[in-house]
Chain length 192, copies 2
DNA sequence: GTCTATACATCGATAGAC
DNA sequence: GTCTATCGATGTATAGAC
């Protein structure tokens, strides 16, 4: 039995993390304060320490939460059998995830907080996401490490260009499908 | 006549900017303090305001300095007549510039300082760099806006992947040449 | 578990003497 | 042009009452 106390506490923790994402979207991932966060959830700043030992611990919880959400979304996809269509669908979802919340993208993929290193537990879902993607890429013909690196650089580049040059737009995102075709058609032949 | 006073002052300003880059490389582009910067050049923090009206003004000077250095380096290249080889040489230099100093890359290309907008004067050299690159890409067959966007996403992706996953290494950078070949060979055909 | 109060540090910026 | 002194704001974290 879990206990109603622990359950309530967990729900409150999740609520705080949720509010933190909201503030981070406005002030930047490193720009929101614990004072503001506490206000957002209706308590005072010192009370946050009942839930998190430090701001870095909060970042760790956010990192875990973000990666879990990503994993859930990707696992919820009904991938077609055709590898090419499956890769496109998966990457489209990944890029959508990374461009719809810049602060989240900065914490999860851009090491934007100096001194923050995710704990192994928080990192686990990220590993699962990566492994799943690599597996799928293999079925589509991208097998060599160098080919995978090229592919991840391309996808990351689309995200970075979109987020830093035209946040919320789709000028770069809409190039994703043709770039995937380009890579699947001609990248493996060029390996060595 | 310029005047020795103004000359001395300009040299001092350049010295401060130089020291700022040094600190930014250690503490991050947003992480160094004016106190530390002043110490680095042997004066006290308030004395910096003789040279810069605010920290944002300092960032503007750094932005200008960084873009000038980039422009100088690219203009110093002896580009071959062959468009493909010229593009490779130019991009190699650009990527080297962006991966050898992460803090600089963050200020110049990643909008990493909330609230900082470069002044038109500081932005001018950046425009020159971009125009030059686009011109060269045209001679190599990349003409449509969508093709240029794909290309910039790829180059930016190589830089981002290298800087955030393996700072100082070359795991992604070494893929640049084959990626350029891939794009020049097969990208234009896919436009619409 | 939440509060008030406060410690403690850092930082950007200003005032005014020299 | 550089200094000392200080302001004012912000931010993380802790102590202790309730």
């Amino acid at each position: 039995m879990v206990g109603k106390v622990a359950e309530r506490r967990e729900a409150r923790t999740a609520e705080i993390v949720e509010a933190a994402w909201k503030l981070a979207a406005v002030d930047g991932i490193g720009g929101f304060s614990l004072h503001g966060l506490a206000r957002e959830v209706g308590i005072r700043q010192p009370s946050l320490y009942e839930y998190f030992d430090s701001k870095l611990a909060l970042y760790d919880a956010m990192f875990l939460d973000g990666n879990r959400r990503l994993l859930t979304r990707l696992e919820g996809l009904d991938l077609p059998d055709d590898p090419r269509r499956a890769v496109k669908l998966l990457m489209r979802e990944f890029v959508a995830f990374a461009t719809e919340d810049i602060a989240r993208q900065q914490l999860l993929f851009a090491r934007a907080i100096p001194g923050f290193e995710p704990s192994p537990e928080a990192y686990a879902p990220a590993v699962a996401v990566l492994e799943r993607s690599v597996e799928l890429l293999k079925t589509a013909g991208i097998r060599a490490q160098g080919d995978v690196d090229c592919f991840t650089a391309m996808v990351g580049g689309v995200i970075a260009a979109q987020n830093s040059n035209e946040p919320g737009g789709n000028r770069w995102v809409r190039q994703l499908d043709r770039l995937i075709d380009l890579y699947l058609d001609h990248l493996p032949r060029r390996s060595r």
